[in-house]
């Protein structure tokens, strides 16, 4: 039998936090492929404030990272070409939970939802809840923030 040396890193609070920190580094670099590469294939995605009310149904910012998260991040970066983030706290535990306080900010250059671009800047506090699996891939992300704060900073006063 051939003995091999495993270089696989085990999940600890620190290693889980490191993965999530890398996510925000990639986000700051606008590298959406690397961002999504940090997630497991069917990782859950949930941005709680994202909802669009139609006449008969409500579309929510919920699904998987591949089907909802990736296009949403790409769209944000397209509409806010200087999109960035400032991470204030990253707290984690050995179960793979990671809680992040961060400001997401950018200057609008393209349409975002129903908000027409007026060249205005926003910076809004966010709270993100991640779960990192034993394979050190993120298997869920949930985001909370005040979307009204973003709308008002961008000069959009309608409650859509």
């Amino acid at each position: 039998m051939t003995e091999t040396t495993s270089t696989k890193q085990t999940r600890t609070a620190d290693s889980a936090a490191a993965v999530v920190t890398e996510f925000f580094d990639c986000y700051r670099a606008h590298d959406v492929d690397r961002m999504t590469g940090l997630f497991s294939i069917n990782a859950g995605f949930r941005y709680v404030p994202v909802e669009m009310w139609g006449k008969q149904r409500v579309l929510r910012g919920e699904g998987t990272v591949g089907t909802v998260g990736k296009p949403l991040w790409a769209g944000l970066i397209a509409s806010f070409p200087d999109l960035s983030n400032t991470v204030h706290t990253v707290l984690s535990n050995d179960d793979g939970d990671v809680v992040v306080q961060a400001d997401i900010k950018g200057t609008q250059q393209g349409a975002w939802g129903l908000i027409t671009p007026a060249g205005k800047h926003y910076s809004e506090p966010h709270l993100f809840i991640f779960h990192v699996g034993p394979d050190l891939l993120i298997d869920s992300i949930t985001g909370y923030w005040n979307d009204a704060g973003i709308s008002k900073q961008l000069g959009h006063n309608e409650v859509d």
Binding site: V99, H126, I129, N146
Partner: protein, 148 residues
Amino acid sequence: MTGSVVTGTPTQTVQAFLDAFAARDVDAAMAVVDPLVSVTVHPLDVHAHGAEALRTVLADLLRGFPDLLITVSRVITTGDVVTALLTAEGTQAASYAGAINTEKHLDIEQAWRFATDGGLITDVAVYWCQAQLYRRLAVKRYDEISIA
């Protein structure tokens, strides 16, 4: 604050707060809050120090929505910090956050992040989406909140 608080784990401290909040018992909730607590409620633009600030946030919620139902879906402990994910449901019975009473029902998902020390909550940061809240209360514009 009473002097009878038994020092618990961060999770126990926050659970005591959440249980009291869910029971609409503001005094019991405030019994596990440090008098010098730092209070940030992002959607209300509250950035304050002192237990009275947090008491006002809770009391305003209960005055606006007397049948407030708090359902905690997850409690995540990361050292001395505990994050609770919850849904607040209720029927408006008084003006709230500038919105006049239209007796509408709302349900808002929220995240409350608590820092604890010595069995007391020393910092709380609250996140919810005020757009969702105003949408459910039939507010049409952020610059005309009281005109429903």
